[in-house]
């Protein structure tokens, strides 16, 4: 795997969805290539950051009550 290929599949490597052979090829490339190693560190950090900052917003209680009420009214 070359740097160009690493760029194309980097997200899927992070998702853990590459097949085993490619996951290994990718890892092997990272062990040899400092630039791609840096790239993956950056991607990981951005991913963690985003996950933290876009943490799920909970539904307000009044919505939950409203749903329950409307579902029950709808059922009658």
């Amino acid at each position: 795997m070359l740097c160009h290929d690493v760029k194309r599949v980097i997200y899927f490597f992070l998702d853990g969805t590459l097949d085993l052979r490619r996951q290994n090829d990718f890892q092997h490339h990272l062990d040899l290539c400092a630039d791609c190693e840096t790239r993956i560190v950056i991607h990981r950090r951005i991913r963690i950051f985003l996950k933290k900052r876009l943490a799920p917003i909970c539904a307000p209680d009044h919505l939950k009550q409203r749903l329950t009420r409307s579902l029950r009214a709808f059922a009658e």
């Binding site: 590459l18 085993l20 840096t38 985003l50 799920p56 579902l71």
Partner: protein
């Protein structure tokens, strides 16, 4: 399937028990889709009522959460998208280039800090703005994958599109989002790379990242797909030619 009589009595309770645990997830995504709490609440309510109405169509043993999300996606398209969605064009090659420029210039800044939160001072509002800057279809896959944790296959089911499309949109959506964040980070001085005109283009297109096997045009232009045009616009999804576990197609290494 239950009888019509039983439906009213039992199904209501069954449904409530099955569906209410997902209200936070649905609301969260609805909020990100509609961008305001009032519309998000209405969307979730409409989704629940529709889901309840068609509950007997739900196939047991399939993913209920994905089914609810699919109903919500369809409801959203019917209610909102038709009204105000104006397709905007994205020059993805420009995004790739500016992303590379920022990464290359700022790599030392981006990795030297041991903190995982690289843009610690970035306002939540900026992050939200970056997310909202994504075209709807790209935003959806990013939300469904990275916030809700759906698999590619589940997302494909929710959005009624091939897995390859999901992967392609994920790739592009994530990249656009990261690019925008990096641009903000640079603009506001969280990272130190010198500012440069955002529209500057490199002369050597050959040096760019993911590239078409053979493209008719130099620039790959993505247009936010219209509901009915989706497949046509994304016919080049195989460009990424990625293989996911369990699928057999070859990944093309040029």
């Amino acid at each position: 399937m239950k009888s019509a009589e039983a439906y009213e009595h039992e199904q209501g309770w069954d449904f409530e028990k099955a569906a209410m645990p997902y209200v936070d997830s649905l609301y969260n995504t609805a909020y990100r889709m509609t961008r305001n709490s009032e519309d998000a609440e209405d969307l979730v309510q409409e989704t629940y009522l529709k889901a309840y109405k068609y509950y007997d169509k739900f196939e047991e043993g399939t993913n209920f959460k994905a089914w609810l999300f699919k109903i919500m996606k369809n409801t959203f398209i019917n209610n909102y998208r038709k009204k105000k969605l104006t397709p905007h064009k994205i020059d993805f090659s420009e995004i790739e280039e500016s992303y590379e420029r920022v990464i290359q210039k700022n790599a030392p800044d981006l990795i030297k800090d041991p903190e995982t939160e690289i843009f610690q001072d970035m306002m939540d509002e900026d992050v939200k703005r970056a997310l909202d800057s994504l075209p709807h279809d790209y935003k959806m896959v990013v939300l469904l994958a990275d916030i809700e944790g759906f698999s590619y296959k589940e997302i494909a089911e929710i959005l009624d599109c091939p897995v390859g499309t999901v992967m392609s949109r994920l790739y592009r959506g994530r990249k656009m989002l990261e690019r925008t964040l990096l641009e903000y980070a640079r603009k506001y001085g969280y990272i130190r790379g010198k500012a440069e005109p955002a529209k500057m283009r490199s002369r050597k297109d050959e040096d760019k990242g993911p590239k078409k096997k053979e493209g008719p045009a130099e620039e790959e232009e993505i247009q936010e797909p219209d509901e009915n045009e989706e497949e046509v616009l994304f016919a080049d999804d195989e460009d990424l030619d990625l293989e996911v576990e369990g699928e057999e197609e070859e990944f093309n290494i040029e």
